[in-house]
Subunit: 263 residues, 2 copies
Amino acid sequence: MYELDAATALTRADETRFTLEVSDGWGIYQYPNGGFLAALGLRALGELVAQPDPMSFTAHYLRPAQPGRMTIECEVVREGRTSATAQARLIQGGKERVRMIAAFGDLDANEGTTLETASPTPVPPLSECVSIGGPPMGSTFADRIELRFVPGTAAFLEDGDVEPQPALGGWVWLKDERPTDLLALALYADAWPPPVLNVVPRVWVPTVELTVHLRRRPAPGPVRAWFRTDHIVDGVMSTDGKLWDEQGRFVALSRQLARLKQP
Amino acid sequence: MYELDAATALTRADETRFTLEVSDGWGIYQYPNGGFLAALGLRALGELVAQPDPMSFTAHYLRPAQPGRMTIECEVVREGRTSATAQARLIQGGKERVRMIAAFGDLDANEGTTLETASPTPVPPLSECVSIGGPPMGSTFADRIELRFVPGTAAFLEDGDVEPQPALGGWVWLKDERPTDLLALALYADAWPPPVLNVVPRVWVPTVELTVHLRRRPAPGPVRAWFRTDHIVDGVMSTDGKLWDEQGRFVALSRQLARLKQP
């Protein structure tokens, strides 16, 4: 069994509740990664709705989660013929840590117009991207996730003459080569160092809210990703992310609202 | 009292519930506009949380709403020192129509870095934008909202040699000249015809989910807005919107996931 599947395996407690021991293997410092927490919620909700695929989820990060016992309380808000909406509450020590709401559908059953007018991915082939020495954020998460950066985009991590801009990206995959699927995309959408670090060094950027649109079933290989923070206003920022699969097909959009904090 | 304030005035039923008669004056055909419904939820939640400003909200549109009696059931999920998270359920005839979750804060109390690296607004001055004859969507909503389009961007509404692209925008305000505030921005983020109509004529585009980040308190005047649909995949699309106030300051981001339906 792949690590992500083992770490997001849930025990069903009753009709709408699941439990698990949150692993300490997916942490940024001691805190489980936000995309990993979202994946836990999606797995729980996926057990309850008939529609197979998460198409949009929003996670509000209320309090830091931690390794150890967690209960996930779910509610199916609406189950329709072509879509379902459901909510998850991730609870530890009696306190809600994350609230999620997600819309599910069946990507294989969607039909109708396809028309894509966006610029192609700004991420060059994997062979042109670079590994940056050491875990990017001093974390156990970095033991699971492989990142290859577009050269020059991780100014805060690189030595040399890099013109800093609040954007970065490259390729991402799981080190145990688990095939990419929608659950992995949810993780990859929050797996990167915040691009703001290129322009505002050494801040801590707790996410208030993360919304991801999962738009295509990805090819199983590594994923290209690009993240950009266009507007930091009074210490609050939005970061936009876009993901493409190995074949260059657009697969997901992410956006998060976060606060900049001095550590 | 301005029309938007009258139409979103709520009666408190108990500690967490509000009621109102949904006006038929904010409809797209017979259905109340999605941004208007979001404004109802935000007004209810704003009564319950100490933080004054919605900073991010997500609305999942579960079933069409209609004019008439509505109950809004609220839950304060977490109230913190600098932010609050709360949820609203808009219910008619015993059925939930919209579920919203929102993060509140105090925009005037935010402090820290401001750094904006995005391109300036693509919307020219108001005097260069054009009114397009008749209500854009045959709706009572159009009686309340004034739109001025960037010339050439509303190809589906214009005669002549317009190169269609899935993007449109211009200026927006309330006809009764209610000063723009965060509640109005929530409305303006969903007040435009879908840009997809430029490239896929005469489709109906029910919104699955709308997320808006409200990032600055806007100047009171008209707002510039720009919307773009980059990726339509198998009849599902994401539309990104961006709003600037009269002074050209970035004030809000929106993104929605919608399905294309043949009428």
